[in-house]
Symmetry: D2
């Protein structure tokens, strides 16, 4: 399979179309909506195996919410983004469980690594109801959905695959659906902490950073898994590859390019760049300097988006 | 049963002996050791049902390590305390599993509530080996014990009883022993974050603060549970009750007391004080102003004490 | 002077009146207002030397805002409390500088000691304008007040008296007024982090915890100093003294008291209790277990109260 | 002046020599020492105006300590690095003040922005003595140097230029020397948080990130200023420029390059790349994903290096 180096289905579709000079891929449907000047939604649906094979993502729904200028977002922007997430989340949840079906929200990641702390931070803000419904039912309205939440830690600090922890909990408390929040690797630095991808096909933690863990999905847990993925880091080789294209484009504009460079731009030079950077320990995973604020704003959006959907 | 208002077996023994004018309780054996001028160890063994009934703790071992002046402890003091914990922990672990028996370390508590943050903070420092032995066995010596660690959160933020989470994990990854770290309520403010109690009879989270959760023990998990409990808070009524005794003692010394006060001192006035404080919302759970530093020092002791024992 | 053991002028007035069987003190005027069922404002004005001498506070204005049940406060409660603070703050600022007079906001305390972290946390939320007005005046409306903010640290970590740091800064940047935020010792545990005292007579840091630092006031800085003080800790002896009164009151209600106890209640036993507790290291400064959440809520109130007033 | 895009004198010297095909620059002396396989020291001395003009740094001493693999550094490595810093620091301090000359340590930066938090974190670990010598002289040995420490915040949150704050404090408490700790921009990502530059010519905060603040030096404060600078971030255009060189080098090795590329490599393409990236908001300042751990390790080295030198 093509190495897409992105977990976003919409980016993969674009890359595949460009590489194969297509306007449309069989088995992939797309729908775009502009919520306001700063928020855009794109819904990608993979409907059959052809689509699945083309972009290497399982049949299912992939919704991308792009939030412009999150770094300097005001309270209203954050609230609008949260409402957009709520709307999309409600639709995708309703596809899989009924209004009262118990939900377990899982925040992946490591609280002590800033660009990986989103999941645990969101969990701390989820309005859980499961214990109230069980022990103090008089305090909640009838028909309230049971919601529980956990931040299981990462393999490096627990020694346990996350899916093993979740499998144990799911088998013991029997929720009907799992929502997993995870930080992703991005293909482009401007997307960092400004894009949310919703999908109903589960997640492979660490996939984006070449550190693949066992899949968390209906296959491994036995119940549907909705994934909320947010890009927070980018690999240097990816960054350089994209920057090189921008540079050559500029040289072309200025008629300073040549055949060799033009060909360089047509090709994907990621592997070559990576090989050049590796011996110097240059191929680090990086994150913007302002990652603390970005994570804080994104936490507000995701937590309040999820709470709104419950 | 008598309301001991302490989770420490050694304190319960003292209270029971005093209340019943005894020098020794049938079915309870005691051994004291002074490690140095700042560190003392006391080993209480409950050997039969008589002892169990007297102080309301199950048959088993209870080891108290007292560390004097932890607030101003130097690095050597902390290291010595950690070594003492290691020594006691090794003995108690060896009683229950063999040298290679897999251990799961569990840190109870809430990272965002300072006096309740000890468990999660310790977990972050545990040297886990389970994933290395499974995926990169060439990096560890043969015979290394599998160690994993988890900080499952608290009922209020997860919506799930901790024992339900742990039961699921234990059933799925099959460790041979669990070590649980928990913050306890103390009977006396000077013991806060300066005492460690080790026991091999499990734990009831929140027991000390009148917020009892389901037991975590061999009964509920099916494997032995060693508990490491550290007092970090005290109830105002307990504090006032003890302070009242100190005040009357002083009045007696100065011949300013009277029969009524002397009798007050002989009795336990906790319930009466609690009833007097409750209507004014006075009966708060409190912690020393310096709790951040105390927790930090205690985290170093417990984490390094556990790592040393593995 | 009487040892009031409280920095709140309204509490001192009550204590003095009770001790001297007065209904009113010459030179002290009082005004109460109930904002809603959870928020009360009390304005104490010391108008002459007689009032000053009675309660040991300099001539000036002392406004207490009490916020009930802050621990479980909802967003609206916090906003209402912030608005109340803004209203009172605007009045007191207008007494001392004109609408454009530059203000320096100072957050006292230690970020790493939870009950002492309020000041530094508020500073991080203040909308400073001084640098924008100086370097990018086009981005602010004409007539905007210059606001700067600093969190100078505490003597124990800087080695410098706070007033020395502030004196240096004030002499160098020339603001017209200073607002100082400080954590106070409380006389009563239920007031912890639920009361704000505004005054225009400056502050003596650490005064409430027997750790007096040099005064921060018009006398030492040469410009008016408005203090915003919030009780966050209480001394054990104070707690026991007050609790003892509640206990004896209850005994009296049940006709179980006696002359001796009745007299104990009439007297102030603080010194006696303190002496009884000291030898056992019992006289700690304590704070409620929930101090993290209380500080977080209070930070929102004070920061947004100040920002609203600018 | 040439745009060196690095604050490290040793890097500037290399760049200047390469650009001008020199083996040595008049007015610049260099000395290298290998402490062990992981730690290297390089001492650059600018002795006259010619050297000053060549690399755009004032006459003075510039010492670079490189610590290899800090990310996975063990306790011994950190201690060795701290000792190396102590040795160099003692020499440079002794050049400027006598053994008892009072020192003020200043930690620049913003605690809430991870890659900028080093200064404030170090300040929290400095052993200050000034207040003890002033108020409790019996607790320190005679001849102990007065040390104070402050973390003044950043312009964006205080509204005040750091040099204005420091000028005020220095004029008020009269130290003999200032040590300033600051995060720098790096020219190369592998140097991030693994290099320390010591110099006795002061500092221009934010210089490395195109956000220049007023100089902190003997010129503005009136006393010598030793700067301890640690690179923690890198600009994307710098990263791409360097990566491009590595890529072309690899193409050259594989005989896949051409004249145009060879020329690209000889030239500095930073400005061109920056212009290509800017329109797409691509030219972010980035930091490695592991910045939290790097800052933590570097904090231990710098704090313990400074404490050792006092």
């Amino acid at each position: 399979m093509y190495n897409f180096r992105t977990d976003l289905a919409s980016e993969r579709r674009d890359i595949y179309q460009k590489a194969n000079n297509l306007n449309k891929i069989e088995g992939i449907e797309t729908e775009k909506e502009e919520i306001n000047e700063n928020i855009k939604v794109e819904r990608v649906k993979i409907t059959n195996e052809e689509g699945e094979k083309a972009i290497g993502k399982p049949i299912g729904n992939y919704i991308t919410i792009d939030i412009n200028k999150l770094k300097i977002a005001q309270d209203e922007d954050i609230q609008k983004a949260a409402e957009t997430l709520t709307t999309e989340l409600v639709k995708i949840i309703d596809n899989h469980v009924d209004k009262q079906g118990e939900i377990l929200v899982v925040g992946l990641g490591n609280l002590y690594v800033t660009p990986d702390a989103l999941g645990p931070k969101v969990i701390n803000e989820i309005d859980v109801t499961r214990h109230i419904i069980k022990y103090l039912p008089q305090y909640v309205e009838e028909g309230t959905r049971m919601v529980s939440a956990i931040s299981p830690g990462v393999l490096g600090t627990t020694g346990i695959e996350t899916v093993e922890i979740l499998k144990g909990i799911v088998d013991n408390i029997h929720p009907k659906l799992v929502i997993v929040i995870d930080a992703l690797a991005s293909r482009s630095i401007e997307r960092i902490s400004s894009t949310v991808q919703l999908s109903d096909t589960g997640i492979v933690p660490g996939a984006g950073v070449g550190n693949t863990r066992s899949e968390i999905s209906v296959k491994t847990l036995g119940i549907p898994v909705i994934a909320i993925g947010i890009p927070t880091v980018v690999e240097t080789a990816v960054l350089v590859n994209d920057s090189l294209d921008l540079l050559i484009e500029k040289l072309q504009d200025e008629a300073k390019s040549n055949d060799y460079l033009n060909r360089l731009k047509e090709e994907d030079n990621y592997e070559e760049i990576k090989e050049a950077l590796l011996p110097k320990d240059y191929n680090l995973i990086v994150t913007p300097k302002e990652i603390d604020d970005l994570i804080e704003n994104m936490k507000d959006i995701v937590a309040s988006g999820i709470n709104g959907a419950m």
